[in-house]
Symmetry: C2
Subunit: 375 residues, 2 copies
């Protein structure tokens, strides 16, 4: 007993973390691979000994590289997703596939701003295989088939508002976000840019390719990831359920699409799809979560945080109603209404993330999605 | 027994992988954080309700974002490293810190082109805590304090040569690289670009900050990662050993720096540092590995693969000699000379990666670097 206490305190020291003592994770397999993507080919013929325009100073590696590219006849493999996966002992049959939101990577799910366990660990502890994605043109999947440019534009305060921490430097009262400056710094440092233009279709194709490889599973998406998540369900019948945290938009049947929702901080025009495609959303269970400090649709505000999510939550309500009117099984959870308070846009890493996790886990159980491979 | 076979075959199916059966990994802690980095501040005052130049069609989110950025007074947190870490049960005291090479991310260590276990897993199985890095301005650490531009230039065939698979589409005879087209595709899809200019000093600073956080450890670097690895050892006395796979350049004492090594495929000009800094490399054990198909210095070739590594291996030899002449403990292993054949530039993911791992593990043991926290 004493020995294990020493191990834990050494560990906390090694990691510099603030983890509570917990049972070890038993992982029977983990690794990384790419899925989806395409190949771009340059004109010309590959020349392994390209003609180099001699530099004045030196015969540089960069000059050789540029000469090689200029001769052409080469390929570029890009627009794939990067996947890190872990499979716990005695796994449940349906894995969780995690898709991050705007400006984020799989790190969204791997930690919290104050270093507690993220949803990657919580789902592993509950027995689910986990597949974490860096979507095409983001993070470790940065290689794209089109050029990209990245402006180093200071915008932390914009995102602080958009991610519903409050109006910088103020915070909403009772917010479920850690207090320390170090935590806010870690939160800001989770951001990572698009390496080429965001493309929802390419992301959905890479996810469909992942489901082709791993078989049936549950898709869990955050924010901007909602859109490619909906599209993935249209491409792959291996998506057996979708859970989303604060998606930004929704695809409606063509003739039932609401008009644009107006906000001084950016309008939202709902998406339209065919009736046939929409019907697919009525054939799988869907749950959608929104956090705290989001006013009712009619309560227009002059706060970016509140007004952006006012219109998006209103749209979520309309979408859920539409799905269920067509015989579907969509659930919208506005967390404060079930007594879970203070959530920002990052529900899965807020200080009460374990409480929301329990709710989600119960929903998976209710929907019969949590059986083990050997059950 | 039968039950466990079923679990394993289900697992192989779930992962779509080709893993051999192995004991589960027991992980007492895992997570993600950022280290190092700096903060860029824009002029002006943050305006939470920025003046928007109304678009003709809609009040778009993008327009609001641009207006917010234009008003200024905001911060950008960038130039940090992204770290994913795992700590196994009964851990050794000194963790391994993994730094990838050019065009790569931590995925370098997380898998192999044919889906076998990468060095992340092999070191965990041997009891080492592992800290995997995406260096500043790469992968999940893509947020930079300066602008970046990324050309989608087809260049797979250039890297195929530089990474010493052969001259595309040919392969060196007896190469330790998997045969399948799928493996080559996965290998190409490990590439991910710089999101802003490569900066060795910034990388070294982020690694020194990591060692400040986690305490003493062993630095394992690949290729271009060699340079920031050497620099990290100059910044932090918590680096207790360095192992490198095919580093591209080396820092010599000012008055003992060799002249430029010439190759038609790019010269290499050795780096120079002060005698005082150089002395730091004589105070810690260092091991450097190079693979197969690298000719002796005098055997100039017209093959990019061979000629690039001809001069870099020659430089490694000179550096090792210099370190040891000054009383250091540097070991250079040219793998074919100890009977390990066929290695490409990606020694840690070649088909014989476990064999090289055994050698490295024995070296760590010989140097007394493999003790456990409780020993």
């Amino acid at each position: 007993m004493k020995k294990s206490l020493i191990v834990l305190s050494l560990t906390a020291f090694i990691a510099g973390g603030v983890q509570a003592a917990a049972k070890p994770l038993s992982i029977i397999e983990q690794g990384s691979f790419a899925t989806g993507g395409s190949v771009k080919q340059s004109q010309g013929h590959y020349n392994p000994r390209p003609a180099i325009t001699q530099n004045t100073d030196s015969n540089s590696f960069l000059a050789v590289y540029q000469a090689s590219v200029a001769e052409g006849g080469q390929t570029l493999h890009g627009d794939h997703a990067a996947v890190f996966y872990q499979i716990p002992e005695n796994p449940k049959a349906l894995p969780i596939v995690f898709l991050h939101g705007a400006g984020q990577s799989m790190r969204t799910w791997q930690t919290t701003p104050d270093g507690r366990e993220g949803y990657q660990n919580l789902f592993l502890r509950a027995g689910y295989p986990v597949y974490l994605i860096d979507q095409p043109r983001r993070g470790q999947a940065g290689r794209a088939t089109v050029d990209g440019s990245i402006a180093a534009a200071p915008d932390d305060q914009f995102w602080y508002a958009q991610f519903r921490l409050g109006e910088y430097p103020n915070r909403f009262d009772g917010i479920a976000f850690p207090k320390s400056k170090a935590a806010l710094t870690q939160f800001f440092r989770q951001m990572t840019p698009n390496t080429a233009p965001f493309n929802s279709k390419i992301i959905a194709q890479s996810l469909a390719a992942l489901f082709d490889r791993i078989g049936s599973g549950i898709l869990l998406a955050h924010s901007q990831g909602g859109d490619p998540a909906w599209q993935t369900a249209l491409l792959s019948d291996k998506v057996k359920a979708i859970a989303t945290f604060e998606p930004g938009n929704f695809p409606f049947p063509k003739n039932e699409t609401p008009s644009t929702l107006k906000s001084a901080f950016g309008d939202v025009t709902p998406q339209s799809i065919s009736d046939e495609d929409f019907a697919k959303f009525t054939r799988l269970p869907i749950i959608i979560y929104y956090g705290d400090n989001i006013p009712a649709e009619e309560e227009v505000t002059n706060s970016q945080s509140q007004d952006q999510w006012r219109i998006r939550l209103a749209l979520a309500q309309k979408w859920m109603d539409t799905v269920n009117r067509h015989g579907g099984d969509a659930t919208l959870i506005h967390l404060p209404k079930i007594g879970i308070k203070g959530n920002t846009h990052f529900i899965m890493s807020d200080t009460n993330n374990a409480e929301v996790f329990s709710h989600l886990q119960n929903w998976l159980k209710q929907k019969g999605l949590d059986y083990r491979s050997l059950d």
